[in-house]
Symmetry: C3
Subunit: 311 residues, 3 copies
């Protein structure tokens, strides 16, 4: 991105330039839905070699129809990269389409749930044509493109940032270890939370509580998340997955058709939110092309505070 931000082009010209060069940053989207990633005219580059620290998603079936889904990239605090996005989407597809599965438990391997999005890896994958996912067996894990039919219980600990918090919000029952620290950092970082937080954070915590954190980038604790209604239970550190699994066992034992019908009815009651979901990606892409987004990237590289101009 540095060539773009060092350009002397005007805001409009810069946007054209970015589009013309197919700059990867403009191609980034969230939830990995099909036809999501603006290709911006760029021909697909050669498939990159798999990153040595690429993430993966671990899957385990527990008795009773529970699918344990682990975000597994502890060496990078579970920063969400394309393999994790694709793995989650395939796991959620499997959950919905395998009749023997009743409920999933989503968790993060290691000391953090998910520290945010691996933007460079997403950009590279988009440029390489790996994203958006081509697989038909994929349901976006942020719950933007389609409603899941079966419930997800999430267990979090450590850092739950940005897309990590959006995956958390998209889950149906939420358990947090007492050492969890949450943040919705996109706005503070010159970007835009395109994974559902603008809709779900406000709905679940209230407008004022959501804006207080989303518009400042301040972190908040598990206790504060519990107070705001985002977390159903707090556990001692390390016990969150066990507790989430206990609850999932209960969900797995009750009538599956009732579970699905209850979820569907509750989704129907908030269906107007889906209009807002449709705007998330265009807004994200528009902001990624802004001068401020370039400034944020430069400031990060140069280890200084960004100075935003609002354009």
């Amino acid at each position: 991105m540095t060539e773009a931000s060092s350009s002397s082009a005007t805001g409009i010209d810069r946007r054209c330039l970015l589009a013309a060069t197919g700059a990867a940053a403009v191609a980034l989207g969230l939830d990995g839905g099909r036809s999501v990633y603006a290709q911006a005219g760029a021909p697909a580059a050669a498939t990159p070699a798999p990153s040595p620290d690429a993430g993966k998603v671990s899957l385990e079936r527990l008795p009773g129809g529970i699918l344990l889904i682990g975000i597994d990239r502890a060496q990078a605090k579970n920063r969400l990269d394309p393999p994790i996005l694709i793995g989650l989407g395939k796991a959620y597809y499997q959950l919905d389409h395998d009749d023997s599965l009743r409920v999933a438990v989503l968790h993060g391997v290691g000391s953090d749930f998910c520290v945010g999005l691996d933007v460079p890896a997403f950009n590279a994958a988009a440029a390489a044509g790996i994203l958006p996912p081509k697989d038909p067996d994929f349901i976006g894990p942020a719950g933007i493109d389609q409603r899941r039919a079966k419930p997800v219980v999430v267990a979090v600990q450590g850092a739950v940032n940005s897309i990590g918090h959006e995956l958390f919000l998209a889950a149906d029952i939420r358990i947090a270890a007492s050492d969890t620290l949450f943040a919705q950092l996109e706005v503070a970082n010159g970007s835009f939370p395109a994974g559902g937080a603008t809709v779900r954070f406000s709905r679940e915590a209230g407008w004022g509580n959501a804006m207080r954190y989303m518009l400042t980038g301040d972190k908040w604790s598990a206790e504060e998340a519990y107070r705001m209604g985002l977390v159903q239970e707090i556990t001692p550190p390390g016990k969150q997955l066990e507790r989430a699994t206990d609850l999932a066992k209960k969900v797995a034992a009750v009538a599956p058709l009732g579970v699905r019908a209850a979820l569907a009815s509750a989704h129907e009651a908030i269906a107007p939110e889906e209009t807002a979901f449709k705007s998330l990606r265009p807004e994200f892409q528009r902001l990624q092309r802004s001068e401020d987004a370039a400034e944020a990237r430069n400031a990060l590289q140069q280890k200084r505070a960004p100075v935003f101009q609002g354009r």
Copy 2:
């Protein structure tokens, strides 16, 4: 229902079979709205003799325009049977149409507010053609079919289960004794909460809090209901009706047109939820025809835990 569950028919065949036999369970609906109960081709049976333990609704006018509405079937923990449903619906109609009435206080006689629905009694009444109510002076007390124009304050104690919790959620101001225990049991029991909980529980307590209880069947306390925002005040046991009546007196003293206009405006803001309400009964009836619903009924009869198959 046992003949249905012992049938070797396939799921589809079984549904046809149930429809053809006009099995009473498929005719059950909630809120008693007109044209609610699918008659499923069954000719009306002879009117059953009134049950010796049938419930009733007690009505008392308090000074100032307060209608005290009591669910009165203490011998069965106020399990809601057709006479109670009809009595409540007529009381709510009276509230809305009698200009001298300003507000109602809904409560349960005895040690429990309402332990749930009397499914056999509903089935018998539907088979007998008593339900749906034919009376024009009826407003469904679960608030699914139409919006009430005047407010209801509810006072609860003891067990507040399933349809009991839905009547509670449909009220406008909610007072609970500290010994109250809540549960939304339908999903756990192989059925579906068709009285508004999928919509109102999620809206009032937050998605995660509602799903945590609705999808497990776990009970929760008055204190937890207060924390989740469902209850406005907790009183010592036995004081809940007095406190609810005190608040109703205040509501009765302010300008009635303002009260009605404020309620109407607040309802208009959440009008999209009414789309979800329209789906509740078809979903309920669909699930009642499922194999799992039959399994739940069998397990209950046989005093064993049900084993659900998701069909």
Copy 3:
């Protein structure tokens, strides 16, 4: 209004009478949006002399793009009169249209935030043709007619009543001193909260919590507002503006396009509420023409409790 309430006309006749005389009370609206005030056929009276205790709005630019907006009529507990309404609307317009501004902090000068609406002053201004505001550079501060594009942090203390509470609810982040006392008094006073409380109070605090206060006129504390999710932080008395400004500095430092896009997306998710907003003024005007509204005004003049008839 006294002649109207002493009239022996029927309800319908009285409404006609009021309309024919262009009684000022029927012309009152909130949010000052254009084409808001029903002129009721009355010719504009002569412009009244400015009131000696008329309010004003103080504006101050703080470094970093923060607009400090002060409701300044401490001698009348910041009762909102037409100059304050117009001043707020112009300040909000300036906020949205001045690219160097990022966020506003709204506060009240003196010991109260805003004790309510100055109804006689509004009636006089409407009769004089001063209201509705003719200025194109005006955005209604109650957020009924259009969505603000930039965020407002509000700091409150002392009395926060009626339209004061609605301005508070319309803000995006809310800080309260521990000595704050809130009330939504319109319904208790024979009127109707037409500035958004019916929509936002219910959404933010939950239906039951909002109705418990809105339908009784009871006051509530900062602690209770915090519990209900309406307030993000409580400060010691006198520290609320400093804390609100600290948060505004953080909002001002993050990416402005992201802030605006996040607000816009969150607004889009609750867009169905705008249908309810459209009904507020007609309802307000309808209720102002009621006998009960006249009774409320008479009772106030005669220092007695009003007796409402529901017409």
